[in-house]
Symmetry: C2
Subunit: 335 residues, 2 copies
């Protein structure tokens, strides 16, 4: 329910935790695989008819409280003229990676031109779900976008972009700023078109050491989140040792990966609402195991300011019955 | 120098920090690439003549204080009858991955049979470097070995082994115990053949949540490290939020990845010696940048119980001049 989601995002008490899952629309769902058989990934996300149906699949099947738009963090590369495609078995590949300071883009196309299909999708979703669920928009964060743009393809430890920081510190700053400009415009555009809440996925920024994170990443997170007028959620992995840097972003909700101890997080973050943080691999266990672990997490997280979610996206090997057990456990709570 | 290394490992004051680098013998060195042109990776590590020469290359070029045997964490799969090969562009591939509880190996071949080339190599290195450097042995940790054995190939978030834990908790425990048995025997064997110090690389175990780590990983680390009679070093990534779990392993030295703040680590770990933790991507910057950052780290780490190293292995894109700047900075210290 939309109101339950927004209450939790404001830190208020809820009758039960609102629930959704990162990457809840995806390959683990047979109805998703069926639809995707006829459409490439880029085609599916940029065709509002198809993207609408996919976005709604987990809502229709499980009755989650949040409907996240079916899209991709990399679409924010488009307004900067960075062309990419999805290569089977590899992942996203950027045609012409950023190789040095002179490649850093100086300006971008208006978001409502190149990404108008996102606005269209959000309007459809808002109209369709009404008060029944919160509509969630999102964007990739500057470091994560920069990582793909510099490496040109997925990279295990994101060494290329980290090496770019070492070799060209000033250009690295400019690069993050260029992405931040796009992300600000993109998230504001999403809010104008109906997003109730937006999540910033700077998933890989925690691969910078604490000082580099403070110097380069935190200021752009603050600028982005300050520019958005609906509740915001921030997600960065590998931040268990420095949750204060997530809190300092100004986000309304901190999304915790599964390596964060929920009790320690609650203690460190005080009243700041949290999202998460069940280990997604638990959903490869049987439904009883999932229900037990989910129940434990809900109890530990407490009754105010907790949005139930995983600590990362749903894995493609997940049985939909495990997701069902996860959502059902949230719904079984009465308080 | 051997004595400088051992003093730091015992937490004592040293005239300057001893220095070595994880993966210091590797593709970034032209003399390594030249030698490897004639030998496959498996052939190079299992031929003592070749492995000796490769192990000594960084010592001869840079004068590091530690010579780490040229080998691979996965050799510990061999005594368990798990066959693997290195596939170009993919990494290590295990021929017959562990798929369920019935695949968990119950016993292993004696280490001095299947891994006798390691003992031979260590004897050669000890004889060659004498008091000039510490000879460092190592083994992969149980979780990291299990990850390769279950997934069958490198996996970004190690979901297969984490899913194995969720689906088969008891068998997961047995699997880690089976690897721990091999690792104990293997490290003792290395000490018998001359290793001055050994490092346990359970690099990926930090991908388990804190409770799972406590339940499954910590007890095997304790058992392994307790069984070894020379100074031990433990290395696990993504542990910044729970350094206490590394300290509890009983290791003599805790190796810190680059996402750990050195001041916070020193405060949390008290007198426990540390190793690390320069961001390896800094070595993609110019030599002045490397020297400046290295100097800063040395100053912050203090004059006792610090072994200078990177926070992870040397990246193959590194210029040897950057490594030279790193080592030279350590040697320039006078105190």
């Amino acid at each position: 329910m939309r109101e339950r989601f927004l209450r939790a995002a404001r830190g208020q008490r809820t009758d039960r935790p609102p629930v959704w899952l990162m990457r809840q629309a995806g390959r683990y769902l047979p109805e998703y695989r069926e639809l995707r058989a006829d459409h490439s990934f880029r085609e599916a996300i940029s065709t509002p008819d198809v993207a609408e149906e996919i976005s709604l699949q987990p809502w229709e099947r499980f009755g989650v409280d949040g409907v996240v738009m079916y899209s991709d963090i990399l679409v924010a590369l488009e307004p900067l003229g960075l062309d990419y495609h999805i290569e089977s078995g590899v992942g996203p590949v950027v045609a012409d990676p950023i190789d040095g300071p002179t490649d850093v883009p100086g300006s971008h196309d208006p978001v409502d031109d190149s990404l108008d299909y996102v606005g269209d999708l959000l309007e459809r979703l808002t109209e369709r779900v009404g008060e029944e669920a919160a509509v969630i928009g999102f964007a990739g964060g500057p470091f994560t976008l920069a990582s793909y743009a510099v490496a040109g393809e997925p990279s295990r430890s994101h060494v290329p972009v980290r090496g770019f920081r070492a070799a060209h510190p000033a250009a690295f700053d400019d690069l993050l700023a260029a992405f931040a400009d796009v992300v600000v415009e993109f998230l504001q555009y999403q809010v104008e078109h109906g997003a109730d809440v937006v999540q910033l996925f700077d998933t890989y920024a925690g691969l910078l050491g604490p000082e580099d994170y403070e110097e380069y990443v935190l200021p752009v997170h603050q600028r982005i989140l300050d520019a958005v007028d609906v509740p915001t959620i921030i997600f960065v992995r590998n931040m268990a040792g420095r949750l204060d840097q997530l809190a300092a972003s100004g986000a309304d909700v901190v999304s915790l990966d599964w390596t964060v101890d929920i009790d320690a997080a609650r203690e460190q973050l005080g009243d700041l609402p949290v999202q998460g943080n069940l280990d997604p691999s638990y959903l490869l266990g049987d439904p009883d195991f999932v229900a037990e672990r989910t129940r434990e997490l809900i109890d530990r997280a407490g009754s105010s300011g907790h949005i139930l979610n995983l600590g990362h996206g749903v894995d493609r090997r997940t049985d939909p019955l495990a997701v069902e057990a996860f959502v059902r456990t949230a719904k079984s709570i009465e308080r």
